[in-house]
């Protein structure tokens, strides 16, 4: 077993120093000559006292306890754990970007604004939406922004609708975002094929319904083939359609959600556009809208205007325009996760039109290849083929004594990150698998072999799968204890 790494606080030793600040080069005065005593801190913050090598070893060792895309295949459904190109990191670390202050006048930030403006144009091209905002900080934040736009749009029309309809296969963020915006949520059951049930939708979508939130392809990895009709039902009832673009990696260069009638779409730059997941963030969740919803986008909007230079020649300059009276306002301070925008932009420049088209082709191919390899060993609840991901069920295995959770843990011993498990909620013992386009045939073969081996083991000796993982830095943690006796900081 691996050696545990103590907490940095446990390595602290009085007087030890790491980073030393420059000496004060201005004449010093007593602190109390600037600030009254009552404004000052009584008790020192107990930060660790450690040397530079302590800090470096500590964080290096901690890093070695992680699986990551660079070390292991990560078939985490719905998360699109594709390879994160290194050139993106180099681009985002250029000093003209990292040291740019958000309140510098726009004339000093033209390179930055051009990049952001161009990125919006590329996202419009790829998605078929009419306008984008880059402000939302993550997918869920994009959903919230979308809900706010829907409400503002309807209220402008004098309508106060109260309900959002969400299929039961949706991500948990969908209902949570709708609720955060003050909407009631109505869940509708998917049909036997795992798709939106048209009849149920028709019945549910009343004149009190503001919008349908849909994911396409949905979380089962299936394309909602009736999307045109679905959008028509919503529009005929005076409502809108919000599309969760978490699964955009299935559609690049294949089809555009904007052409299918959706009114708002969020994209996850950290999924489809290769910005690193960073252990859970930062992501970025830009949203695209139709022409009718454009006035409601958050401010400022990045716009290009013609201007005359001193020499009387026309020149494009980029501005931050706050003059949009119908805007929902700001959803975060400043303009968004700029570092992620630079990475996504770099990725898209590298790929170009040809690369963008290949991404989804190979993502869909890889997923179907794996599905084909696993279909005789696991229960496949929906669909003979899939888009970029698919869901298998371990209910057969569960009866033999090993659950989806056990399979996930056994995979860790084989050196693979686990798929997403127990989601979507409508599949019993669900394992949701998304290989992405950046994995080779050999990796997929090895993963399939491990999955098949696990299925065989469960037939013979399920305890081999249950008592896992054995080779990871820690064994299975006691999550109940963690929640019942919360210990959330070192003391």
């Amino acid at each position: 077993m691996h050696q545990a790494e103590p907490l940095i606080f446990e390595k602290s030793s009085p007087g030890r120093r790491c980073f030393i600040l420059p000496a004060c080069d201005v004449p010093e005065k007593p602190v109390t000559s600037f600030l009254p005593q009552k404004m000052l801190r009584k008790q020192e913050a107990q930060l660790p006292e450690v040397s530079e090598i302590d800090v470096v070893r500590h964080f290096t060792r901690l890093s070695q306890m992680n699986f990551c895309v660079d070390t292991n295949f990560y078939p985490l459904g719905s998360c699109t754990m594709k390879y994160n190109p290194r050139i993106n990191e180099d681009a985002a670390r250029m000093e003209g970007f990292t040291k740019l202050h958000p309140y510098q006048p726009v004339e000093q930030c033209q390179g930055m604004l051009k990049l952001l403006y161009d990125l919006e144009q590329i996202l419009k091209d790829i998605s078929g939406m009419s306008a984008f905002t880059l402000q939302p900080a993550a997918g869920a934040h994009g959903e919230l922004t979308g809900m706010l736009i829907i409400r503002a749009y309807l209220e402008k029309k004098g309508e106060h609708r109260h309900k959002i309809i969400i299929p039961d296969s949706a991500h948990g963020t969908n209902p949570a975002s709708a609720a955060l915006c003050g909407y009631e949520v109505e869940s509708i059951q998917s049909n036997a094929s795992g798709l939106v049930d048209i009849e149920k939708l028709k019945a549910a979508f009343t004149h009190d319904t503001a919008a349908l939130m849909i994911t396409n392809p949905n979380t089962l990895g299936l394309f909602e083939k009736d999307i045109l009709e679905i959008c028509k039902i919503a529009h005929d009832a005076g409502g809108l359609v919000y599309c969760d673009g978490a699964n955009m990696n299935a559609l690049l260069g294949i089809a555009r959600l904007g052409d299918m009638g959706v009114d708002i779409l969020h994209l996850n730059l950290h999924k489809t556009f290769s910005t690193p997941h960073g252990g859970g963030g930062p992501g970025a969740g830009p949203i695209g809208v139709t022409e009718a919803l454009k006035p409601f986008l958050p401010v400022p909007r990045i716009e290009m205007v013609d201007t005359l230079t001193a020499e009387d020649t026309a020149e494009n300059i980029y501005i931050l325009n706050y003059a949009h009276p119908d805007s929902i306002g700001k959803v975060r301070a400043f303009y968004g996760h700029i570092g992620m925008m630079i990475r996504a932009y770099t990725y898209l420049l590298s790929l170009g039109k040809e690369g963008v088209c290949k991404v989804s082709e190979y993502a869909v191919l890889n997923a179907n290849y794996l599905l084909h390899k696993l279909k005789n060993h696991y229960d496949i609840p929906y669909g003979k083929t899939c888009m970029h991901e698919f869901v298998i069920s371990a209910k057969k295995q569960k009866q033999k004594g090993a659950s989806a959770l056990d399979i996930a843990k056994k995979l860790l011993d084989y050196g693979f990150h686990a798929p997403t498990i127990y989601f979507p909620l409508i599949v019993e013992e669900a394992l949701m698998i998304e290989p992405t386009e950046t994995e080779s045939r050999e990796t997929l073969d090895a993963f399939a072999a491990a999955m098949i081996r696990i299925a065989e083991d469960i037939e013979q000796q399920p305890e081999l799968v249950r008592n896992t993982p054995q080779t990871t830095p820690i064994g299975r943690p006691d999550e109940v204890k963690a929640a019942r006796e919360p210990k959330l900081r070192w003391e």
Partner: protein
């Protein structure tokens, strides 16, 4: 050339016309092939691009064959053909050196604090970032992993979050902290939401000296939730406590104050905290972590929730993002808190380990009943903050705080001696202060002239506060040497 010309001359006119038509035809076909009219996944140029896809055409054929598929198209039969035709104006892919050349050119079009001396602050601050922060945070085990859903192979990320939570508790003096929020503004908005839910009251009282963009975000978040936001004036540069006393009432869920406030002034947090609690409202403090090396932390003035922007802890300006908000509360509010939280437990062998915990609050379990819709944190930035604070250590954070205080006051004292400027407010401040231009000199002009000398001046306060005409907000952190401050003063002296 001569020969060619002769040849052309010898060609009869009708033949020439025919040749032209043929040429036109060929050119238009070529244009069509490479233009936006002819795209969709079917069309690939032969040229290789950086697509990061290991499988080749040959792999593809083998895989399709194994699947018993005749073509890739068969996998897309559920997509109606009408969706397959669309136009695209995306350019062709570029090689690495070409991409970097483009990006460098964009980067160099910006005038940044990398080449200028900047006195801008206002919610985004320039602090020195020790070398080890970039080096350690660039380990791909940290930046290419996902949310620690599988704790057995995510102890690195989980322990970092746990240490980050501890560090934020130490700095703020609060009981518990979460793993981080999108940024300071959304942390504040979520804190206000928590208050209205907990207290079941619908009024938020908010100081006008809270960052204007934070108040903007607050309004956006609360719109439609039947919550009233009342702003308290700041005539002397700090929140007017008398006005607060008049406005606050039994329906007030929370009082929100920033310290140091947007103008850099230090608020009387203890008094305001008492007022809030007397009316059974929560007291929410929005604070700058760097100031907490010296200033009284929220825990010492009985704040219920402490939030703020932790960009200052080892993260770059990045034109405003990504940043990270922190969120710390009293024990009693723990289960009402939004966001991810890491906790300590033991593994199957009894060994200490860390997991994401109290997930019953979160959207993937509770869906529409969750405490928030947030499903990420800013883990990589929290890692940077964690490394930064460990590198500073107990002595370092206090020294850093004092250094900011000394330098800003040195600059303030010098600027006060100039005929053209006077302080906007007369209040104790930390590392930021307002300066008003006297006479006919406009802030805009001052900043334009400073930029010519390689100095980025302060924020024009009237952009957010029309009543504060002709004032600028200047920030002086430890990154400004005496020499650079003296240069600012010298340039202003000449105006």
């Amino acid at each position: 050339m001569t020969h060619f010309t002769c040849g052309m001359k010898s060609m009869p006119a009708d033949k020439l016309f025919f040749l032209l038509i043929v040429l036109l035809f060929i050119v238009s076909i070529l244009t069509l092939l490479t233009s936006k009219l002819f795209t969709g996944y079917r069309f690939h140029l032969n040229r290789s691009v950086m697509d990061y896809i290991p499988n080749t055409e040959c792999d593809k054929r083998k895989m399709l064959k194994e699947m018993g598929m005749s073509s890739f198209e068969a996998l897309l039969e559920n997509i109606p053909p009408t969706f397959r035709k669309f136009s695209s104006v995306l350019p062709s892919g570029l090689s690495e050196p070409e991409v970097l050349r483009d990006l460098r050119s964009l980067s160099e079009k910006n005038t940044s604090a990398g080449t200028c001396i900047s006195f801008l602050g206002a919610g985004a601050y320039e602090h020195y970032i020790p070398s080890l922060v970039d080096h350690l945070a660039s380990r791909s085990e940290f930046f290419t992993c996902y949310t620690p859903y599988q704790p057995e192979v995510s102890q690195g990320t989980l322990q970092v979050i746990y240490e980050f939570q501890t560090l934020m508790c130490e700095l703020t003096g609060m009981d518990v902290a979460n793993s981080s929020m999108y940024d300071g503004s959304t942390a504040l908005a979520e804190a206000a939401l928590l208050s209205t839910r907990l207290k079941e009251k619908n009024k938020i009282v908010c100081s006008r000296a809270i960052h204007p963009e934070y108040r903007h975000v607050l309004r956006t978040y609360l719109k439609g939730l039947h919550t009233e936001i009342v702003e308290i004036d700041t005539p002397e540069g700090i929140t007017d406590v008398n006005q607060l006393e008049k406005v606050i009432g039994d329906t007030t869920a929370a009082v929100l104050v920033q310290n140091p406030n947007f103008y850099g002034c230090i608020e009387d947090m203890e008094t305001i905290s008492d007022v809030a609690h007397r009316h059974d409202a929560l007291f929410l403090a929005c604070v700058n972590p760097i100031s907490l090396g010296i200033l009284k932390p929220p825990g010492e003035y009985n704040a219920d929730i402490a939030v703020g922007e932790a960009q200052v802890l080892g993260n770059y300006l990045n034109y405003g993002g990504p940043y990270l908000g922190f969120f710390a509360v009293k024990k009693e509010l723990l289960r009402k808190m939004p966001g991810r939280i890491a906790g300590e437990t033991i593994d199957s062998l009894g060994k200490r380990c860390f997991v994401l915990t109290l997930q019953a609050r979160e959207q993937h379990i509770r869906r529409e009943k969750a405490t928030s819709n947030i499903c990420t944190n800013q883990a990589l930035l929290a890692l940077r903050a964690c490394i930064y604070l460990c590198a500073l250590g107990k002595k370092g954070i206090a020294e850093l705080s004092r250094l900011n205080l000394q330098k800003s006051h040195y600059a303030y004292d010098k600027l006060c001696t100039l005929d053209i400027l006077e302080p906007t407010f007369q209040q104790p401040f930390f590392h930021e202060f307002g300066m008003k231009a006297k006479g006919n000199l406009r802030i805009q002009k001052i900043n334009e002239r400073l930029l010519k000398k390689g100095i980025i001046g302060g924020l024009k306060l009237s952009a957010f506060y029309p009543d504060l005409a002709n004032s600028m907000l200047l920030c002086v952190t430890e990154t400004k040497t005496k020499e650079s401050i003296d240069r600012l003063v010298a340039e202003l002296t000449q105006m």
